[in-house]
Amino acid sequence: MNIIVLIKQVPDTSEVKINRETNTLIRDGVPSIINPFDTYAIEEALRLREKHGGKIIALSMGPPQAAEALKEAVSLGVDEVVLLSDRAFAGSDTWATSYTLAKGIKKIGAIDIIIAGKQAIDGDTAQVGPETADVLGIPFVAFIKKVESIENGKMIAERMMEEGFDVVETSLPVVISVVKEINEPRLPSFKGKMKAKNFKVTTWTAKDIGADENLCGLKGSPTKVVKIFPPTPRGQREILSGTIEQQVEQVANKLKDQMLI
């Protein structure tokens, strides 16, 4: 079984801080990591390979330094990695990213399952998985928390919903996105780390994958960011004083006055 894992290199948003004077993100010293949700995708691919055999290819689109994230995937045990990197991809929104990834996937060839994380922690859109599926013309199932079975060209899996979960059957090939409940990602092995160190990351440009440059990057993106600004700070803030009883009483009365309780 051939599996592609889609991964994205992201800044560790838990380390991102705001410069309150300039209202910009402080990125100095903020490490780049594999999008945490993608680590569950990698782990699920490894488990499916253990069960069904086959090959795992990690695919990413990004600047040249995203090769580091792919090397990390190698250290975890994926077989091959491909980076789609080209100046023409800059400024891609989710549609243009999905188009580009789909072109890369087509060049890789016959694939049974494509696994993505639920969403990336920098953009939080959760759109690249489903849009890639659509460009490829194959089905998509979101928020998988358990793969029950894969046989006879069909997958049965549990999809997490707001009020429980659905058991969904889908034909292969398919794109799925996984939630963190699906597994517990492993750590890289020493052998894996050694392998990753000198691993040569295959890099493909727009030309290599036959992508139409009018559909890539900023040019191919239907959405445009017109403004970026800091969130409005929250209004009135009160740290209460007095004994615990008095504080509880004050809060209770304030909530009552606002008809919240």
Binding site: G91, A126, Q127, E131, P139, V225, E238, A252, L260
Partner: protein, 397 residues
């Protein structure tokens, strides 16, 4: 749009570097250079006193859509077991305002089985037209048939805007709809407006875990599609006398259905969907022991709230993942959020900081949760919560 550096004007002062939210500006040969990380957001324009950074309008000639032929605002009316989701009514409230501003009609698209009798509610909440696709094959949410219904209708009637809830369902199938229609989609919006100059939908959403807000437009493609978070828009008061048209849509089940729902399993540990709750009481590791979640449950029950949990509490196995609030769990926006023994890691704040009123209880006065709290009580959660339960019970009689 495109952002570029005018090399002749650039003095190499580096003032623009820190202005970039994406770290996309580097110095090369003593001049500023935009790397692949540049998203053309234009945040650097003001930082340059020499006006050496310029934004140019760049039309997408290849895909020029005839924008004027699109009109009307649509809301995807989500329902569970034939009951309309609250986010749908919120979208109708907001959609009504936007449609009036744009001087156009507001329509709802209702997909399901045995749902036609709900069309009147949608009209009462602001819809002028309700398209109803009522068919046994549409009873459960399923990506392929739901997107087929919505895309077919959108191709036929060409709405200018489509809004859907940023729910599990909306975030699952709306991307496919946007992709089939080859248009832009903005996820998880927290505010919407119409640009009076060109009619573009101004879609504002948080990014980077809520650290920055971005306003996004879809200038050259239609329809403009956005998913909107629970609870950020206000429902309109229903007017049972409002008139509207109900139009039946025949669903052609012969289409390509590659995925099917075998069964739906309700999560019995979760009485209330926390995304829809008006009040949430959340517990964290500060409780010290999973048995004290009973206190959180009692407090929630006292005031009719749902129970949430921090990632740390979920990772420790104290509560099921479906209760997790935060970037890796659910984003919530209740009227009242009570955080008990939660320190307020940035990933938790990202999931709850837009709640109307936040009460934080923590024994560490420097805990970051107090930075977003409306009212903060510094104290032992095991002492404070029982007092709170007692006091709330008194006040509620």
């Amino acid at each position: 749009m495109s952002v570029k550096i005018i090399l002749e004007k650039c003095s190499g002062c580096e003032a623009c570097i820190t202005s970039c939210p994406f770290g996309a500006i580097e110095m090369r040969d003593g001049k500023a250079f935009l790397t692949e990380s540049c998203t053309m957001c234009g945040a650097c324009l003001e930082a340059c006193e020499l006006k050496a950074i310029e934004r140019t309008e760049q039309e997408i000639a290849a895909e020029a859509t005839d924008l004027a032929s699109y009109n009307g605002l649509w809301v995807f009316a989500e329902q569970h077991k034939s009951s309309i989701s609250s986010v749908t009514l919120e979208l109708l409230g907001e959609g009504r305002k936007l449609a009036d501003k744009r001087k156009t009609k507001l329509s709802a698209v209702l997909i399901g089985h045995g749902v036609k009798n709900k069309a009147g509610d949608l009209i009462a909440h602001g819809a002028d037209i309700v398209y109803v696709a009522d068919d046994p094959a549409l009873r459960d949410f399923n990506d392929d048939p739901y997107s087929a219904v919505l895309t077919t209708l959108a191709r036929l009637h060409k709405p200018e805007i489509i809004l859907a809830g940023a729910t599990a369902i909306g975030r699952s199938f709306i991307p496919k709809v946007a992709c089939v229609l080859h248009t832009g989609l903005t996820a998880d919006c927290t505010s919407l407006d119409i640009d009076p100059e060109n009619g573009n939908l101004l879609q504002t959403r948080p990014a980077f875990g809520g650290n920055i807000m971005a306003t996004i437009v879809t200038p050259n493609h239609r329809p403009q599609i956005a998913t909107v978070r629970h609870k950020v828009m206000k429902k309109a008061d229903p007017d049972p006398l409002r008139k509207g048209d109900i139009i039946d849509i025949k669903f052609n089940s012969q289409g390509d259905i590659r995925t099917k729902v075998i069964k739906t399993v309700e999560d019995l540990t979760q009485v209330v969907n926390i995304c829809e709750a008006d009040i949430i009481v959340s517990g964290g590791r500060g409780l010290g022991d999973p048995k004290y979640f009973a206190l959180i449950e009692e407090l929630a029950k006292t005031i009719g709230g749902a129970v949430g949990a921090s990632r740390a509490a979920v990772d420790a196995g104290w509560m099921p993942y479906s209760h997790q609030v935060g970037q890796t769990g659910k984003t919530v926006c209740p009227k009242l959020y009570i955080a008990c023994g939660i320190s307020g890691a940035i990933q938790h704040l990202a999931g709850m900081q837009s709640s109307d009123v936040i009460v934080a209880i923590n024994k560490d006065p420097s805990a970051p949760i107090f930075n977003v709290a409306t009212y903060g009580i510094v104290g032992d959660v095991l002492e404070v919560v029982p007092l709170m339960i007692k006091k709330f019970k008194e006040l509620r009689g």
